[in-house]
């Protein structure tokens, strides 16, 4: 006991010293901050230097504030509808997805904002993301280690594809169709085609739930499960169409169109051809 007590005993001599209170407060702050940093959800802390946030705010005021408000607080129309939602807490990932895929800035309000050409450079997108991330904590832009499936061995990838298929059919195909060809949503909205989309954007879409889509946070679908889905979508892209021309991958409607137009169309053509060629009983030309 004495051995243990000794150093503490020595230290305790300074406990009433003039600097002791300051030191304890400092240690407490460090501990709290460190613990928070260790356990809090990954926040956009990497690049949000003040200058970048400032640049982002300037861009935001020009390109986004009309609908989202000068401080990202959202704008309501006169009849109470939401012109642009509040962006506090949506995180850098949402900005990277919306602006990176060209959905934002929107051309006009409507049931759904379509994808188009990117309007900003990657640096500007990063600045906008940093600014929006500074409004409140939200999911950060995923890194390549999150969404890339290149690290998988063939065997791991194979297993990921099988798992991803199961997750995809349970969670995604109801709106995005069995092949990721997309589908209709109420009132003019639609679930877009997701075959051939970059893994980063697939990951971000699941993470942030853009527009009408549900939000699949990392607590809901883990990073590994998201990678499984990315692997499955990639495999749909890589696999050949075993059955021939895929007819758009939209199910039996296009099959019916082909059965009628191509099948019945050509067979009626054949019938006309056969009926138009009457038989001659001899090789001589019939005399009239």
């Amino acid at each position: 006991m004495r051995l243990l007590n000794r150093p503490l005993g020595r230290l305790s001599r300074y406990r009433r010293g003039p600097l002791a209170g300051l030191l304890v407060v400092l240690l407490g702050l460090l501990l709290t901050g460190g613990l928070y940093a260790a356990f809090s959800p990954a926040s956009a802390s990497e690049d949000n230097s003040a200058a970048q946030i400032k640049q982002g705010h300037q861009l935001f005021l020009v390109g986004c504030s009309f609908c989202h408000g000068n401080n990202g607080q959202g704008v309501k129309t006169l009849d109470g509808n939401q012109l642009g939602p509040a962006l506090v807490g949506v995180g850098a990932a949402a900005v990277d997805f919306q602006v990176g895929t060209g959905r934002m800035p929107a051309v006009k309000p409507g049931p759904q904002v379509p994808q188009k050409e990117q309007a900003y450079t990657p640096d500007e997108i990063a600045a906008l993301a940093a600014y929006v991330a500074s409004l409140g904590p939200g999911p950060a832009i995923p890194t390549a280690s999150d969404y890339s499936i290149d690290h998988m061995t063939d065997e791991q990838r194979q297993e990921a594809i099988v798992r991803g298929g199961a997750i995809f059919r349970t969670n995604c195909s109801a709106c995005h169709n069995f092949e990721g060809s997309g589908g209709a949503m109420p009132n003019g909205g639609f679930a877009p085609k997701i075959r051939g989309v970059e893994p980063k954007y697939i990951f971000e879409a699941m993470l942030t739930g853009p527009q009408a889509m549900d939000n699949f946070s990392n607590g809901n679908l883990s990073v590994e499960e998201k990678q499984d889905i990315i692997a499955y979508l990639q495999s749909l892209q890589d696999n050949p169409d075993y059955g021939g021309f895929g007819l758009g991958g939209i199910g039996p409607v296009s099959e019916g169109v082909f059965a009628w137009l191509l099948g019945i169309g050509s067979l009626v053509g054949v019938a006309t051809w056969i009926a138009a060629h009457t038989a001659r009983s001899s090789k001589q030309k019939a005399e009239s």
Partner: protein, 583 residues
């Protein structure tokens, strides 16, 4: 036309003809005939005459598709396992390896990826099923529009309708067999339709599925329906359909030399055997090409059936599309009485409306027969324009079908044309009641206009395209008389008779029984036929001929189209540049 008489014997002198020793084939035929007695049967039927027209071959597409279905279907049964017991897939399609699934689905994957030619056979089977039912529809429309259902063919009309219904049922059973996500979703809808039956619905569903949906007995049950019961019925009814065709003889288009008593065409052997046989190979070829090149029902992409899953773009095959469309646009109506729910929202679109629409088309011939009171046999076809009300009815029904079809694919329409799903639904709810009547009216007037044009051709000739200027400066188009044969063909139809009620009361002054029905009949008769244009009478024809006599004279002896100079004084001039008038 003159007969070639060179091969006919013109003398009875010389040696008597003796039969030559039969050749090898003849000996075999003789042997078989001695035992089977087929010669008598064949002698008549091999020379059976069939008329030639492209529209008479539409039913053949269905027939040959059915043969292809039997051939490819037999191939598929060799590997398909109709079982819902679960196993883990270990076949060559890597994306599903290790996934638990039913044996039915696993064996479908096995056929698609591990059996040589299996995927081709599956796709051919599915394409030819789509073509089979489509061809039956087209054939039925041809029969309807030409009046080929009239006496003595009413029974064959009903057999054909039964074949169509059975074909659709057979197709749906086949669609459900692979037990993939799409077929399971389809069965779930079928389950809903059954359960929507008032009072007994849930009992019927439990009976069919052997308990709660999806259960584990349905696939084996559907399999027996699909490979044994329904094909057996189809085969028997197709046999009856074709026996009746032979017995009635085929209908033909009217024309010179064609009457209600004869059939003008070519004999079964060799001409029709070659044509029909050749057509089989063409149908087979088209089906094989489609099966080889166009993907149909990629079950491996849908995944095994799991009641908790569904995919966007879940659709039935095209022939169930109108039921799907009805379901999709139906408002959500329900009635609750004494703790019991009557699901109008499923019962009307699933159980009532499709059969009502189908019944209207099937019942039309009988309605028409009752209204006209026509009990004569008809072997000469009618042109669709000469039955305007009937043609307009079919056009309206086709429109209704098309609208419901489109409603069934509303999600595909929404994504591909950037329309709102809700707007499509609201539009269709109105359109299915508004558009068919408009189509009916337009088609009817159109047909009557065509009838009028036919009469003009008969009475005033065809339009030559030659514009003549009269001395006083007016312009007119020359008409030249059409040929005798065309005139005959255009007028080879019967006049419509409008039924009228003779008297409301019998000789004692009492209201006669059946008067109300007779009145309805008279009203319908007036509605159906009163506006039709009847063919010109003999007097009208005579008058028109007299009127056109001068033209006739000018035109006679012409073996090329008139140039216009037959009618002016061009031939009397000695130079081309002589001016007509001196100013």
């Amino acid at each position: 036309m003159s007969l070639d008489t060179s091969k006919i014997a013109d003398t009875n002198s010389g040696t008597a003809a003796t039969a030559k020793k039969p050749g090898k084939a003849g000996a075999v035929a003789g042997w078989a005939d001695d035992r089977l007695g087929l010669a008598t049967l064949m002698r008549k039927n091999l020379r059976k005459v069939f008329p030639d027209h492209w529209s008479f071959m539409l039913g053949e597409i269905a027939l040959w598709s059915f043969v292809i279905l039997l051939l490819t279907g037999t191939f598929l049964t060799l590997w398909f396992t109709p079982s819902m017991s679960e196993s883990v897939y270990e076949g060559s399609y890597s994306q599903l390896r290790g996934v638990p699934m039913s044996d039915a689905y696993a064996s479908t994957l096995h056929i698609s990826f591990d059996v040589r030619g299996g995927l081709l056979m599956r796709q051919m089977h599915h394409w030819s099923a789509n073509l089979f039912i489509a061809a039956m529809f087209v054939h039925m429309m041809r029969t309807f529009l030409t009046g080929a259902f009239r006496k003595p063919r009413e029974l064959n009309w009903v057999i054909g309708a039964t074949l169509l219904l059975l074909g659709i049922l057979e197709g749906f059973a086949g669609y459900s067999l692979p037990d993939d996500l799409l077929s399971g979703t389809g069965l779930r809808i079928a389950d809903g339709l059954i359960k929507a039956t008032p009072v007994v619905g849930s009992y019927m569903s439990f009976f069919l599925f052997g308990g709660e949906f999806p259960g584990d007995v349905l696939i084996p049950r559907l399999y027996i329906l699909h490979v044994l019961l329904i094909p057996g019925l189809l085969l028997a009814l197709i046999g009856a359909h074709m026996l009746l065709l032979v017995f009635h003889k085929h209908t033909q288009w009217p024309g010179p030399g064609r009457t209600e008593q004869n059939v003008v065409g070519y004999p079964m052997l060799p001409v029709y055997a070659a044509k029909a046989g050749g057509f089989f190979f063409m149908v087979f070829g088209v089906t094989a090409l489609m099966g080889a090149l166009l993907s149909i029902n990629p079950v491996w992409k849908y995944g095994p059936y799991d009641p908790s899953q569904v995919t966007a773009g879940s659709q039935p095959d095209w022939y169930m599309g109108i039921a799907e469309g009805l379901l999709r646009i139906m408002p959500n109506w329900e009635t609750h009485i004494w703790g019991h729910t009557i699901s109008w929202n499923v019962m009307i679109p699933g159980q009532i409306a499709p059969f009502l629409l189908f019944g209207m088309v099937i019942g039309w011939p009988f309605l028409e027969q009752w209204v006209t009171g026509d009990r004569r046999e008809h072997h000469l076809l009618q042109r669709p324009r000469n039955a305007p009300t009937r043609t307009a009815f079919m056009a309206a029904m086709v429109t209704e079908y098309g609208l419901l079809w489109a409603a069934g694919g509303n999600d595909i329409l929404a994504t591909h044309f950037h329309w709102s799903l809700n707007s499509i639904t609201y539009f269709m709810r109105t359109a299915i009641f508004v558009v068919p009547p408009i189509v009916f009216y337009v088609t009817r007037r159109w047909c009557i206009g065509l009838q009028r044009a036919d009469n003009n051709r008969v009475l005033h000739g065809y339009e030559t395209g030659i514009i003549m200027r009269s001395p006083d400066g007016g312009y007119s188009e020359r008409h030249l008389p059409i040929g005798e044969a065309s005139a005959y063909t255009l007028t080879a139809r019967q006049r419509d008779e409008i039924h009228e009620v003779d008297s409301d009361v019998d000789e004692n002054g009492v209201v006669a029984p059946g008067t109300r029905a007779e009145r309805i009949r008279a009203k319908l008769s007036k509605g159906m036929f009163a506006d039709n244009v009847q063919k010109p009478t003999a007097e009208e024809l005579e008058e028109a001929r007299h009127h056109a006599e001068h033209t006739h004279e000018l035109e006679s002896g012409l073996d090329h189209p008139a140039s216009g100079h037959e009618f002016d004084d061009h031939a009397l001039r000695d130079a081309d540049d002589v001016p007509l008038r001196q100013h």
